[in-house]
Symmetry: C2
Subunit: 123 residues, 2 copies
Amino acid sequence: MSVRHPEVTTTCDEVRDLLERLGDRWSIYVLYEVADAPRRFRGLQRAIPGISQRMLTLTLRRLEEQGLITRTVYATIPPQVEYEMSDLGRSLGTAVLGLVTWLRENGEPLERARERFARAHGG
Amino acid sequence: MSVRHPEVTTTCDEVRDLLERLGDRWSIYVLYEVADAPRRFRGLQRAIPGISQRMLTLTLRRLEEQGLITRTVYATIPPQVEYEMSDLGRSLGTAVLGLVTWLRENGEPLERARERFARAHGG
DNA sequence: CAGGATCCAAGAAGATACTG
DNA sequence: CAGTATCTTCTTGGATCCTG
């Protein structure tokens, strides 16, 4: 996740930091799965095809670190841990909806740009 | 930039694809620099501390591929190439402003979450 | 069940030298 | 000036084994 410079953080840096965190391999999928109801580790792994145990753990920790999800441990046997989206996470979800809207409205020009580029260069 | 599956692309996949592209090391900085006026290669490299020639080239190509910036070559001596933000890029910029707003409004809770996490674990 | 620890492979990024 | 080519380094992520 690279080095950060809290002392000289500009808006650009902050945005990049956020985009970098959300744009990693699995965060969005985990956030999506956790959005509606509390979820457990196994359930998440089954719901997200291809994610490894390690990456699920890492992704959950990072999201928890940012306060986007909460982690609740129940001292039962067998152990039970629930992950749930926090209010902060939900508000971020709303903000991200702006990007979803943009994608819906611009999927077409985006696709044409890619095709044009592919034709122009050795695509 | 990983494998993509055009056939089974869900909304989640598309959003991740976008976040992944914007969340890389340099894209945001380049977009920021190019936002106001046409810029040239050298100028961009001087304006973005730490970026290498190679990464500037790669980042510019990727942004051009997505149609977010345009590239114009003037057949002069010495050669002159101008990079400029496209309408598509500008509209995306507007969408990203939603995230900037979210950051401004939630920078505080975000910071507290990180500190709490650091204290709870071996920070 | 919910992970922690370790090892390894692939891709991203940096450094450097060279060119039309 | 605006790159390309090549080599090396660093970072992510996957596979596997182990534990409370």
